[in-house]
Symmetry: C2
Subunit: 380 residues, 2 copies
């Protein structure tokens, strides 16, 4: 087992009718920026619940955060934060709104000239941010309980992430009832995203960390158990609650403690979203089986362990096939063909971007830009 530091200070308030807790969780004396996306929180009643809980607070609203939140939009919110002397940011929505809130909170305190530097350095020098609280309405990204954020920049077609201790939300409210009205596609995306979050921290090589392996497998087994059911029966509270809690634990940094990680699938996927506008989870479902197949020998021990414990199959190839079938059964394609995207073109574009940046991926640092291109070509 490798040395590690585990520190997750986010207070999780989980369950039915918990939005009312905002009243006591959000500091009352200073202006609060309430950040959200489109109109979905108005249609599903979450907006009204939040406003009711905050009726004694001074709330400044900022809406219009996109599905892949844009730097350009966030900087408008930063201007609002400064103009209104906002001291607390409340994000209401899914991972995009939460990620935007973290960046806005950091950019508002940033002393340098160009806040994009926070992303260029992946948060390496970030020590101060406004406090952020969240009301999560879409289980998927784990952003409600970690210090990470992914932001896109329209002007340059870039999608970068940062991570910092000061970016952990101070609290996150998770009421599974708020997710009942989600479109089926977003729930599908959330299940796939959660699965891949677990895999990026698990599917490497044995590292004498049996507990971490089993914790990761627990989340995978739960997703297999409740995923299809919660897609079919959004109204089943317990299924939705288990999915929601799985999504949080998949990326609250716990299962990755002391083990090697491989974020290749995410890094490659981010480029595909930037180039083609695919949903984040759609990119992951295409890329991950390709990375696994290419790295079959190096990942074989873990693929076999996963196959045996989660799917009761024997070989690494069967484990990959089972995973693709699981995604497909959720209605998630795993090939470029489903989107009429030319795999060769995608391979060329991503290779050129990675070559430019000197990006090399994988837990063994062996996925060079040309290896990544080969992986993408295999996903036609």
């Amino acid at each position: 087992m490798n040395n590690f530091v585990y520190n997750n200070p986010t207070r999780i308030i989980f369950g039915k009718d918990t939005i009312r807790e905002l009243k006591s969780q959000v500091p009352e004396k200073q202006p609060v920026l309430m950040l959200y996306g489109g109109g979905s929180i108005k249609r599903n009643g979450v907006y009204a619940q939040v406003k009711r809980a905050l009726k004694s607070h001074r709330v400044v609203e900022f809406s219009g955060i996109e599905a892949n939140p844009l730097y350009e939009t966030c900087m408008k919110a930063v201007a609002d934060v400064r103009r209104n002397k906002v001291q607390f940011i409340l994000a209401v929505g899914g991972g995009s709104v939460l990620d935007a809130a973290k960046f806005i909170a950091a950019a508002a305190c940033y002393k340098g000239k160009d806040p994009w530097s926070i992303l260029r350095t992946h948060g390496a020098e970030l020590t101060t941010a406004l406090p952020v609280g969240t009301v999560l309405t879409l289980p998927a990204t784990g952003s409600e309980s970690n210090g990470s954020s992914v932001i896109s920049r329209a002007a340059t077609a870039e999608k970068l992430h940062f991570t910092a201790d000061c970016a952990f939300p101070v609290f996150s409210i998770l009421d599974p009832q708020t997710t009942v009205s989600l479109p089926r596609k977003q729930v599908r995306n959330g299940i796939v995203d959660t699965t891949v979050h677990v895999m990026e921290q698990y599917m490497t090589y044995p590292a004498a960390a049996p507990l971490q392996d089993r914790l990761a497998e627990s989340i995978l087994q739960t997703l297999v158990e409740v995923g299809p059911g919660t897609l079919r029966n959004p109204e089943d509270y317990d299924l939705r609650a288990s999915f929601m809690w799985s999504a949080t634990l998949a990326l609250n940094t716990l299962i990755g403690c002391g083990v090697p990680q491989d974020w290749s699938t995410h890094m490659i996927g981010h480029e595909l979203t930037a180039f083609y506008g695919l949903d984040h989870a759609e990119t992951l479902a295409i890329v991950m089986p390709g990375v696994w197949t290419h790295e079959l020998k190096r990942k074989e021990a873990k693929l076999k362990q996963y196959g045996k414990r989660v799917w009761d199959v024997r070989t690494a190839r069967e484990a990959i096939a089972k995973t693709e079938r699981f995604f497909n059964a959720l209605g998630m394609p795993t090939r470029f063909g489903a989107y009429q995207i030319d795999a060769d073109e995608a391979a060329r574009k991503v290779r050129s971007r990675f070559a430019e940046r000197g990006t090399v991926l994988g837990e063994h640092n062996n996925l060079t830009p040309s290896v990544v291109a080969a992986i993408l070509r295999s996903r036609a």
Copy 2:
């Protein structure tokens, strides 16, 4: 799944040679109380490592914390805290030292007349305590990552616990190397204690919380996998590290989120320690199989699930038998006979104590004092 709040702010610093991190983790400007037990930390080199890391700090030492820490001893430390204007408490040792540190930290800030009230009310009104950091040298109690503490009072043969948000350590340093020199008996105790911590949050009834069940089972499976090995080969770093991390996760409040709990075994065990001076884990190993056997029908679904997933057996009775055999194989007795204690006498004493206090236990609130007495009589 039940509603829950999960908030664990303790920073865990885990791994080889991590004691040196004390230098930056302990505030430097104010006096620090360094709390420890007997001389074991001097023999195994931990004392020297701590003093080296804190050579620029003002350290006041307080040693002599007992295996079941006494209120009377803690109050002497509180006097030292006040006399020296201590602002930070560093606990170096096992759960007893950590529990004592939490109580001292709370009692030093206590405004009322009698700090024993903190325990009588189980921490219900506690909101302030000095910050506590820990260096854990004995994996067992989980005290390094929770807000709970158990304190005994010699004068009255009482053993009570308290829990409070303000009692979570701000950091805990876990270096598995510090545990290599532990006596075999203490490691045995730690494995049993950890197992029972998991069980108290798991062995109740199905509550539509499949992820929590699997997380609990992950810890149990890991203990079964590494427990016997780490007893036999204390020098195997990876085995010891997995045991140490299991002990923390067993009682850092995560696996108990949103599920019913049953702390009967602990509550009954505390009385046996108070009356007979048995080690905490020794009491648990006697009591738990008795509680399970008495509650077989009510716990049957979970006993069968546990039996199938952890031991690959079919019936609840086989699951109980497997658990007793696991304890016995670690060298841990599961009957009063092993200690020449009269089960009938123990039953009478505990019944009378519980009747006096009106204690009723169990997730169904059905373990009245006379039921507890029947359970204890069955453990002759």
